[in-house]
Subunit: 464 residues, 2 copies
Amino acid sequence: MEKLHILLFVSVFLIFPLTILGQKKPVDLIVQNGTVVTMDASRRVIENGAVAVSKNEIVAVGTTTEINQKFTSRQTIDARGKLVIPGLVNAHTHVPMTLFRGIADDLDLNEWLTKFIFPAEAKNVTEDFVRVGTRLGLAEMIRGGTTTFCDMYYFEDAVADETFKAGMRGVLGETIIDFPVPDNKTHAEAMAYTEKFINKWKNNSLIIPALAPHSPYTVSTEHLRNVKRLSERLNAPVIIHVSETRKEVDDSVAAKKFRPVEYLESIGFLNNRVIAAHTIHINDAEIDILKKREVGAAHNPQSNMKLASGVAPIPQMLLKDLAVGLGTDGAASNNDLNLWEEMDTAAKLHKVFSGDPKVVTAAQAFEMATIRGARALHLEKIIGSLEVGKRADLVIVDFDDLNQTPFYNVYSHLVYATKANDVRTVIIDGKIVMRDRRLLTLDENVIKKDANAYRQKIITSLSN
Amino acid sequence: MEKLHILLFVSVFLIFPLTILGQKKPVDLIVQNGTVVTMDASRRVIENGAVAVSKNEIVAVGTTTEINQKFTSRQTIDARGKLVIPGLVNAHTHVPMTLFRGIADDLDLNEWLTKFIFPAEAKNVTEDFVRVGTRLGLAEMIRGGTTTFCDMYYFEDAVADETFKAGMRGVLGETIIDFPVPDNKTHAEAMAYTEKFINKWKNNSLIIPALAPHSPYTVSTEHLRNVKRLSERLNAPVIIHVSETRKEVDDSVAAKKFRPVEYLESIGFLNNRVIAAHTIHINDAEIDILKKREVGAAHNPQSNMKLASGVAPIPQMLLKDLAVGLGTDGAASNNDLNLWEEMDTAAKLHKVFSGDPKVVTAAQAFEMATIRGARALHLEKIIGSLEVGKRADLVIVDFDDLNQTPFYNVYSHLVYATKANDVRTVIIDGKIVMRDRRLLTLDENVIKKDANAYRQKIITSLSN
């Protein structure tokens, strides 16, 4: 009888818990001991927090103690004294244009485009150019903690291939425009390329292939309708520049009696697949149309400033809870792919422009670079926050560099004090692509060498 | 006879050149093989260039070949594949306020000052606080290639002491204000402190002690006249905030019938010793007054944006060739001491604000951070460019980071693509203070530890 008691004691108090312990769920990766900035609906920030990742998915978010009670992993990353944030979302860029970084500056948009960018593109853009420029941009973005980007360029199939190989996530749109461009010479060719491109990538874990009609002023109504039909048939996003300049609006009103957003609405183009870049010169009625149609918007403060395009009504758009993300635009008009500077600039620009220092708070700026940016790309169900069921796109950021000392408020710290260089480790889709500032999927030296070879070709091409 | 010929041959063709070689002038340091951006009057950029330094002075600037023909040095720094630029000039800051970095954001100036900054200062600012905050700020500035800064705070003697010990150059102004502050309780006390402070430091190689009457709205006319007299007697610069907000202008007009610059002119306050910070809300007539009186101006784009203070008329000031420098302002309203971001922001802000993408070019922005900034501080004879006879304030900058690839134009590259983190080596007054990103005169870990101790005290003080 006594033996039975002892056995019972042993089984209940020792063996049972050990069994529970033995039943810890194995996962592939635990990031632990960091301050986890979830960007979930309650904006939970977890001190001494952890994130458990299984395959490419987040399976748990909690305190390190909680996570270690429930999960076991052969691979852990210690984020002690660091922040763990959702991967940043660059909502608008033209990634191969990194090769044109600084080719021409301090010019008006028309002169810049017609004298430099278009000739340089006509003379230099090939599939190989696109691959080299993409790799350069991917490396710069990963270094800065960007895990998803939304792109519009030529040879987008090559962009997709390089992006997938680097382990980065992208919404990648093949440009459709009503004049001959380096990859496609006619609308029919562009549509055929795009359909093939989308079908090739549509089930990829990292690549969301898209259609990218350049703008309402460079693509005809008929062709925009074709784009919309194809996007519906293939269930693919549509990326388009909208209302970047005052001239675009004036021309649209003169030619079509509608402002650009009104015009797109009038032809039934707008829906929850559309991602509209810039949306600078839009009025309240147009904001309401974008909201009603659930269009995503990509705000590019530094590019808009540099080209003197104007200031988008971001405070008003946030008041109406529009899906606004932050983008860098191409490196030729920025001249970098650094989302930390876009956050900082967005917060500051709208304060001075509106005269109200309370608009676009640090928390709102960080939101635009994460969960709201995910909404802008219509990807809020899979990325943008650290939540169970989302893809494991995590970034570990140093938190005690000189420029980050001392620390008072996490969002202020991230937006106003942290730099791209403070990013330490980047995980995309559960895979570590940068560890302790070392890129694991891209070779920096080869990238620079290839880019510099193109530099020489580009300079020569422009002097002819 | 033949022997004589041989001897002659030997002496003329071998010994004589060797003698010349032996007569190479010894110097203390040669920085060589870099691209030297001189910022001299002709804006010379020297490929494969070098700078020779003797004691604390630049004794030669030229190609590496030229310099090596004329000079010999036991110490050389190889700047191959890098840029050599004049040390950056931060024309306005409050360096100890680094300890308040991020304490309160996204507030209007009045709320921010009265609810957070003034109470935090009243409860925390001591001489030790000032020393700890100064060391933090100095370390951040040196890391970013700033070699001279213009400061206004309390216990400025402690700021001077820390600055001198760190080997940094500063125009350091003790605050004079018509209410009791942490170091001085009355105007008489402040004037006495300032006179003693100036006499103590006036012959120092690095420190230019100054008077810093806070602003025309916080210092009476009589006291401003006292300041002017003391500055003339001691030949010391005067730092003052001018026209930072619209309210300041309105109040000035209401109370004094003059706008702030007009008022200062009317009391005979303005001359070529004055450094005016902000000068945001100034009209053409006031620009002309500043020009006529040779007043230096410090433009702080990021702080002005963040506090929604307004946008200074920099394009107009540059058209009239005013001495405008770039400043970060204090870290509590920025939130960093990073001049690279100020250059980038200055160029972009004025483009979008004026609607003209050609204003404030990259070259002009870089100029404001170097030679024009030196003019703003009335130090253009000793710093701001790499020229013979100037103090040896040199910065070596990496030129091939990913965000800097490829390279087309040197000023565009510096302003739009280079980051503080690309700064590699910093030389001030002929002394290396950072080498290959390692600070040599400051201990980063001690600085962070001390700053974090104050962080805890500050948080506690504000919750009381």
